[in-house]
């Protein structure tokens, strides 16, 4: 891109139709049409593809191009309204990096009142570009630059060359012409620097949806999109802050409810006892007692402990509400195993077992216990302890809620990050470079 100096501030209106100046190509004699007469410096003969200097009456051939014709997605002479201005496409060029692996198309747009702009297409993604009239610090590989309160990050710093041209241009265009270029991104914007010798030109691009381009120029088919464009707006960005704020708000509420619950609940031990069961008491009722759950009772917690060592204990309990005859008694299984193997020491199981009875009614309860134990098989007794409390806090509720609240933004963050990783995948300056290497 070169600096566009021909702009006249005036009301934005459509360029006059049919204002095409023609002359004969000095190479083949074919007709060359000029749409920006007086501003155009070079034009390409659509018949022989020679580039002709048209900045004065002495037409001269700049180069006899031999490149095969490239069909542009938008036609020269096509008109479309973008950003409330009607533009006419007067030039088209294909450019690439030095290896010609990465190619893009640039359309030169013209409006007699607004001057020149570019519409750039790469991998099916479109950018609307205007030249800046000021120099910006950076561009020689500086990683970050600031422009109009936006922080732009270096995306690419590489050579660029012209592969193909068609139409007319306000500078002397040459196939094979090379410049050094740097792109800095702050989606949906991109700042581009091009340096040719001592000349440095800055331009600012804004990402335009392909559908908007198609609609503006009435294009039936545009190149298919692939990947994420350097300055493509992230679909996850608009809701990022609100999602994080919502998450933080509900986490605070969750913690507040939990703390309030801890202060409000009055837990007390309703029954506690220890017992030494003999083998002869296997399956017999060894504990039979009653207790009263107070009016504020919402749950009952039955806990058992047994000092088993590579052994097991089962306590068949009965916990009957004497008013409703509902039996809440669980089977409490305790087993604890440990030892050594080739991987070192191991252990599994626990010497504790517990069960929480939710929505337990207040009132009188009858509690019985019948034991069975591995120790009985060897004729040994087995000791155990039983404790029953009411209104125990259920921490699993808190952790389950915490995970459920966090999982949504976690997935959101993961997808947002994946989008950014994809955006930076074609850059040598990716902040996710180490992740890509993994």
């Amino acid at each position: 891109m070169a600096d566009a100096s021909a702009t006249t501030p005036a009301a934005s209106a459509a360029p006059p139709a049919g204002g095409v100046q023609t002359f004969a190509c000095p190479n083949c004699g074919g007709t060359i049409g000029i749409r920006a007469a007086g501003l155009t410096v070079s034009a390409v003969c659509e018949h022989c593809h020679s580039i002709v200097g048209v900045d004065n009456e002495n037409l001269k051939i700049i180069s006899k191009a031999s490149a095969a014709a490239v069909r542009s997605a938008l036609p020269i002479g096509g008109r479309g309204k973008l950003f409330d201005v009607e533009w006419e496409i007067i030039g088209f060029m294909v450019r690439s990096d030095p290896t010609e692996k990465w190619k893009w198309c640039e359309y030169l747009l013209f409006n007699p009142w607004e001057g020149f702009r570019f519409l750039v297409e790469a991998e099916g993604h479109w950018n609307f570009v205007r030249m800046l009239r000021r120099n910006i610090r950076g561009g020689a590989g500086v990683p970050v630059i600031s422009y109009e309160d936006e922080i732009y990050r270096l995306y690419v710093y590489d050579g660029a060359k012209v592969l193909y041209v068609m139409g007319e241009f306000y500078w002397t265009v040459k196939v094979g012409e090379k410049v050094m270029a740097a792109d800095y991104i702050a989606p949906p914007y991109m700042l581009s620097m091009e340096r040719s010798g001592q000349d440095i030109i800055w331009s600012q691009a804004v990402y335009v949806e392909a559908s908007e381009v198609a609609s503006a120029f009435g294009a039936q088919a545009l190149p298919g999109q692939s990947g994420v464009a350097p300055d493509q707006p992230s679909p996850f960005e608009p809701r990022y802050k609100s999602t994080m704020m919502t998450c933080a708000m509900f986490l605070v509420a969750l913690i507040a409810v939990q703390i309030a619950g801890l202060f409000a609940s009055h837990s007390q031990t309703l029954y506690a006892n220890s017992y030494m069961a003999s083998p002869g008491e296997k399956g017999q009722t060894v504990i039979s007692t009653s207790f009263t759950a107070p009016e504020d009772t919402v749950n009952l917690w039955i806990h058992a402990f047994a000092p088993v060592d590579n052994n097991w204990l089962e306590l068949d309990t009965s916990l009957v509400n004497l008013q409703t005859q509902a039996d809440y008694g669980p089977l409490l299984s305790i087993e604890y195993w440990h030892g050594y193997d080739s991987d070192g020491s191991w252990s599994e199981g626990s010497r504790n077992a517990s069960h929480t009875v939710g929505d337990a009614a207040p009132g009188n309860y009858q509690f019985t216990v019948s034991p069975d134990a591995g120790a009985f098989e060897k004729g040994n007794p087995q000791s155990f302890e039983i404790e029953i409390k009411n209104n125990v806090p259920i921490w699993s509720n808190f952790w389950i809620s915490l995970v459920l609240i966090i999982i949504w933004p976690a997935v959101y963050l993961f997808r947002r990050r994946n989008f950014e990783v994809q955006r930076w995948s074609n850059s040598d300056y990716s902040p996710y470079a180490s992740d890509d290497d993994e």
Binding site: C247, F250, D327, Y328, F398, W408, P409
Partner: protein, 44 residues
């Protein structure tokens, strides 16, 4: 404000508060809770 996520969080918070009020585990809310009938033993 992300409305869908807000509703989702609100549902979790209400379930959490209700489960705590009733003394349930939240998994029991999902499974319908353990309302044992007369003479019924569960977890056996």
């Amino acid at each position: 404000m992300n409305k869908l996520y807000s509703l989702y969080c609100l549902a979790i918070l209400v379930s959490f508060a209700y489960a705590n009020h009733k003394g349930y585990g939240m998994t029991e809310l999902v499974t319908g809770g353990h309302h044992a009938g007369p003479g019924v033993h569960y977890h056996k």
